[in-house]
């Protein structure tokens, strides 16, 4: 019984982290699906989202506003607006001019952008990690009082619900809206979509904006969950999310969701049963193994090498 509770606790923790990875992974997967590049700076966009959310929360606290839903909504909006603008600007400055060149050139440009953004925040806000105020405390507890207790915190529930809402909106948007339809068309065949009168530049910008907005939501959620942010916060998370995107099959949105959840659970099982230090090793090894043995991921379509 105890063991089972412990297992479920790890499962819950893993799904919590995994669902935020999934939110970040969507940004990678959508961009890759459309223009075939790894947006290396995506982790930094997520980090900036977390910072903006913290700035908004602190600002509201200074103004004396204490109503939790209002704080969360304002913080979310601020984070989404700043991150999406960042995503748009990054695409405009660093990616659009090098689009269509040799594969490595956009990637190096993206690495440069990632270093730039990291240091931009580092210089503006300092390198120390800054604590997020604990806004949501308390949890549901299950199990006997003396033994191991399974806890499901309100924060975790919030993360699940927010992620679920975001995913639903995204799925509806992609399948129903005009821009969503154009996104799908562009990812299938950019040149043809262009011929048929779709403004592909705009659709690519839209992709970056959507990805950045979801990353900002993840930034707020994970910042509150971990309780602190620092300028390097985005690098590892970005790498993990990329792993999630590859795991699920890069280019596929349901794949990113699935990959995020699997990766989160794998990680939390490692830290629960082996050691917390090696959880990063496990996720990177997972990444290497998938790329070696099933580069198309779980739900991806096989890529045909054209000559």
């Amino acid at each position: 019984m105890q063991d089972l509770l412990y297992f479920f606790q790890q499962l819950i923790n893993g799904l919590t982290i995994g669902s935020t990875y999934a939110l970040i992974a969507i940004g990678y997967t959508m961009v890759y699906g459309i223009i075939g590049m790894i947006n290396f700076a995506h982790g930094e966009i997520y980090m900036i989202g977390a910072y903006t959310a913290l700035i908004a929360i602190t600002g509201l606290a200074t103004l004396g506003i204490a109503w939790l839903p209002l704080i969360l909504i304002v913080a979310l909006l601020c984070a989404v607006i700043v991150s999406s603008s960042m995503g748009w600007a990054v695409e405009r400055i660093a990616y659009r001019p090098v689009r269509g060149r040799h594969r490595l050139i956009p990637l190096i440009s993206a690495i440069g952008m990632s270093i730039f953004l990291q240091n931009y925040v580092h210089l503006a806000q300092g390198s120390r990690n800054i604590g997020f105020p604990a806004l949501m405390e308390g949890s549901f507890r299950f199990g006997s009082a003396e033994g191991f207790q399974l806890s499901l915190s309100y924060m975790q529930i919030t993360i699940f619900i927010t992620t679920l809402v975001c995913m639903t909106i995204l799925s509806l948007f992609i399948s129903r809206s005009r821009i969503g339809r154009a996104c799908r068309a562009v990812s299938q065949d950019l040149g043809m979509a262009n011929l048929l009168g779709i403004d592909t530049n705009r659709i690519i910008s839209a992709t970056f904006v959507i990805g950045a907005a979801l990353a900002a939501v993840a930034g707020l959620l994970l910042g509150m969950y971990y309780g602190s942010v620092d300028p390097l916060f985005g690098f590892i998370a970005g790498l993990k999310a990329f792993t999630a995107a590859v795991l699920g099959g890069i280019g596929s949105i349901p794949g990113a969701m699935l990959g995020g959840l699997i990766l989160g659970v794998a990680e939390s099982m490692t830290s629960g049963y082996l050691s917390g230090e090696y959880k990063d090793v496990v996720s990177f090894s997972l990444l290497i193994l998938i790329l070696l043995f099933k580069p198309t991921g779980l739900l991806g379509k096989p890529e045909v090498e054209k000559i």
């Binding site: 602190t58 601020c78 490595l104 050139i105 990637l107 690495i111 440069g112 240091n119 790329l291």
Partner: protein, 423 residues
């Protein structure tokens, strides 16, 4: 002025404000256990607003500005000149390289100890950059975990000297070969991956090595690192004031000169110089050998190269292994120079710096890479007040180079035969 331009310019200016103001203008400060918010200085706010205006006007008059920029090259007197003849160019290049080496040989006797120490670091970066240049510049394989091989070299020497008492000279080939072996073992499975996947896998590998070094406390000392790494000796002569190891003599007593701490620094510098020259010469030779041509052929057109009978795996693997070998070289020198190493010296940022050197110098070009290594290491030391901005500028420079001059500052020119034009 056309209306779409105005709308676009306004939009861009607003975006500039949105992305700059919250992060730059509102600073989070820790107040005890809580976090407070402080407005930035007026000058920061003014510069943010100014930046928005600049963006606005640039976007508004974008077409005319870009138009006049396009005419600029005509003002450059060098733009119209004929490229230098091949033979002359090759001669000039080897003269310049020789001059640099001769100058570098005598230079440490003229300057202070601190500069020599810095110069040793520059040479280590030169070795690293030349090695990575083979992988990225010549073979076109983006390796983001290059620092892992550097770490393997450094830790090999540190561990061998700690547990088995190996000297620098015994550890140097072992460190380099072990790094090469790591390159071979990692390269074998991953090199069939496509370019960008390869980059991410090598990045993951670099992180794994670092995490293992950090957590395998029993052997590597974990985050505390390994200290007391011996300095190199000259035919059994040590450079310390007292001889540490039995059977060795000390340098100053053998030659009957007064002890000076500078001897050691200069000796280490000279070793680094010799190794860097060896690296440069070996790679220069390799570039002209069939294997070097195969690297470039595969980079330019994989399908064509394969259909001409090149083995993709063998060619890529050789580049990867040779790159790793020189990283191991550099790692051993680094460990010996510092006397202490810890996983903190081998983070991803280090890989990114080395990559930035290769990109700035011009992928594939040796002179360019050497000059870029010197510039990238020395400039932050010269402008110490800008040291904080170093990485910021690196990042920006990498983006700008990719946008405007992806071939680098001094691009490589292949030796080729030109056909005479028919009269």
């Amino acid at each position: 002025m056309a209306t779409p331009n105005l709308k676009h310019a306004l939009f861009c200016a607003i975006v500039t404000l949105i992305i700059a103001y919250p992060i730059l203008g509102l600073n989070l400060v820790a107040q005890g256990t809580k976090v407070g918010l402080e407005g930035a200085t007026t000058s920061t706010v003014i510069s943010v607003v100014l930046a928005a205006f600049v963006v606005f006007f640039f976007q508004l008059f974008r077409d005319s500005i870009m138009g006049s920029l396009g005419k600029l090259p005509k003002l450059n007197p060098l733009s119209g000149r004929e490229p230098m003849p091949q033979a002359k160019r090759a001669k000039l290049e080897s003269w310049v390289l020789t001059a640099i080496v001769v100058f570098a040989l005598f230079w440490p006797f003229l300057v202070s100890r601190g500069s020599v120490d810095l110069a040793t670091l520059v040479l280590i970066y030169v070795m690293l950059a030349l090695g990575l240049n083979v992988v990225v510049g010549l073979a076109g394989l983006l390796d983001l975990g290059y620092v892992a091989f550097y770490a393997v070299g450094a830790y090999t020497f540190a561990l061998l000297s700690q547990y088995f008492g190996f000297s620098f000279w015994a550890a140097l080939p072992i460190g380099a070969c072990l790094a090469a072996l790591f390159g071979l073992v990692l390269g074998f499975p991953v090199l069939r991956l496509r370019g960008d996947y390869l980059a991410i896998v090598t990045l993951g590998f670099g992180e794994i090595i670092r995490i293992l070094l950090n957590n395998w406390t029993a052997v590597t000392g974990g985050p505390n690192g390994i200290g007391g790494i011996p300095e190199p000796t000259l035919f059994g002569m040590e450079f310390g004031r007292r001889v540490k190891e039995e059977g060795n003599t000390s340098f100053h007593e053998t030659f009957g000169i007064a002890y000076s701490g500078e001897h050691k620094v200069i000796f280490l510098y000279l070793i680094a110089l010799v190794l860097a020259v060896i690296t440069a010469l070996v790679i220069r030779r390799l570039m002209r050998m069939p294997v070097g041509r195969a690297w470039e052929a595969l980079r330019e057109d994989e399908i064509a190269a394969r259909s001409l009978g090149l083995s993709r795996t063998a060619v890529k693997l050789s580049a990867f292994t040779i790159g790793a070998f020189f990283a191991g070289f550099a790692g051993t020198v680094f460990a010996s120079k510092q006397g202490f190493i810890s996983p903190e010296s081998f983070v991803f940022l280090e890989s990114a710096i080395i990559l930035a050197i290769v990109v700035l110098g011009g992928m594939g070009s040796q002179i360019g890479v050497i000059l870029a290594a010197i510039a990238v290491t020395i400039l932050p030391e010269l402008a110490r007040e800008f040291a904080d901005y170093r990485m910021l500028i690196f990042g920006a420079a990498m983006v700008l180079m990719m946008v405007w001059r992806p071939q680098g500052l001094m691009p490589m020119r292949r030796i080729h035969i030109e056909l005479k034009r028919q009269e």
